[in-house]
């Protein structure tokens, strides 16, 4: 198919889609005047029922916990798929030779980047833990905090060098971490089934008022489980792509040497 034909078909499809979209939007309430019955009900009820202050996290991990389990499993499965895809075609015999490793271990990047990397690791970990554990109180939660924790890993990468990370082998021990987090949320949901007869039933006492970090029953535990899973998943993703880049880089260098 010629590119021009492709664009013509695309434009026609986009125009059709836009028509449907305008028709759909015309049926929506005016911007800013939405009154959602379910949303309003939850806003009135959640603080009394769960002793939390963040309505979004309470919906995500309690009222619609089932959706979150599905979402978390999507994350889990796609990270497994990425790992499989990237490892499948990576030949084991392409292990880094000692010379390449030595060349690789030369510090890269500027001193300023490395110093900043070292300085940010601790702060980033602290921020990540704060966001994970305060999900039911303030904006944040397991998903956001897990990504911040994984960013600490990227700070280590910026601070040190590739060989240090390979020695740490995050690609190996992040798989169990990710799986443990995913299993944790599923087990908490199952606990609700055993204790209260409903999957994702919030079976723990809602905790003190005004809210503290143990308020919300199972919500803080759900957040921790998801935080562990997202931290494992994101670190694994970064490690796999960095491995890929590292191998490509070393391979490119040896080709340069031959050429």
């Amino acid at each position: 198919m010629k590119p021009a034909h492709r664009v013509a078909i695309m434009l026609a499809a986009c125009a059709g889609l836009l028509g449907w979209y305008v028709w759909g939007v015309a049926g929506l309430p005016d911007f800013g005047d939405t009154v959602s019955v379910t949303g309003t009900t939850i806003l009135h009820a959640f603080a009394g029922e769960r002793h939390t202050t963040n309505a979004v996290t309470t919906i995500v991990f309690d009222y619609r916990g089932m959706d979150t389990l599905g979402e978390e499993l999507i994350l889990f499965i796609s990270v497994v798929a990425v790992t499989l895809l990237l490892r499948e075609r990576r030949d084991e015999s392409e292990d880094i030779s000692p010379e390449a490793e030595r060349a690789e271990s030369h510090p890269r990047g500027s001193d300023a980047v490395r110093a900043l990397g070292v300085a940010t690791v601790g702060v980033t970990v602290l921020l990540g833990l704060y966001v994970v554990t305060h999900g039911q109180l303030s904006p944040g939660g397991g998903f956001q905090g897990g990504v911040i924790l994984a960013a600490a890993f990227m700070a280590i990468y910026a601070a040190g060098n590739f060989v240090v990370l390979r020695r740490m082998g995050p690609a190996d021990w992040m798989e169990p971490v990710e799986a443990a987090g995913a299993a944790g949320l599923a087990l908490l949901a199952l606990g609700g089934l055993l204790a209260g007869g409903a999957f994702f039933h919030n079976f723990l006492p809602p905790g003190p008022v005004p809210s503290t970090i143990i308020s919300g029953g199972t919500i803080p535990l759900d957040n921790v489980a998801v935080g562990i899973e997202v931290f494992g998943a994101m670190t694994l993703l970064a490690a796999e792509f960095l491995n890929e880049a590292g191998i490509a880089r070393v391979r490119g260098r040896s080709q340069d040497d031959e050429g």
Binding site: L17, S36, I59, L75, S78
Partner: protein, 114 residues
């Protein structure tokens, strides 16, 4: 009546789709897809917006304050997570395609065999 957020969402979706159709590079194509996905965040948050309302997080705020719809915000959170995984998976596929065919141009990719 204010419809600008809906226009922005529709525009982002169509522009992203057009970019996917015209793309000559898989990485560019994946970024266009993430623009399409971002349009759904704008749409969801616009649907849930209420005038003179606060965020649905009541820490340090009186609980009777009017707040925007928390349900669409929870949906957007799900949406963001799914987008991140989709992008990661597609980038891995792009790496794979580059290894097999030595190109990132989708129009030069041949059907894969076995």
């Amino acid at each position: 009546m204010s419809v600008y957020p809906y226009i922005v969402a529709g525009w982002m979706m169509v522009v992203g789709l057009f970019g996917i159709g015209r793309s000559r590079n898989l990485i560019h194509m994946i970024l266009c897809l993430s623009v399409v996905q971002s349009s759904t965040y704008v749409l969801l948050l616009a649907v849930g917006f209420r005038r003179d309302a606060t965020a649905p997080v009541f820490q340090g705020i009186a609980p009777w304050r009017r707040a925007v719809d928390p349900i669409v915000q929870a949906l957007t959170l799900t949406d963001v997570v799914v987008e991140a995984t989709v992008v990661a998976l597609m980038l891995a596929l792009a790496v794979d395609a580059h290894k097999r065919f030595g190109t990132l141009d989708p129009q030069d990719l041949r059907p894969q065999r076995g």
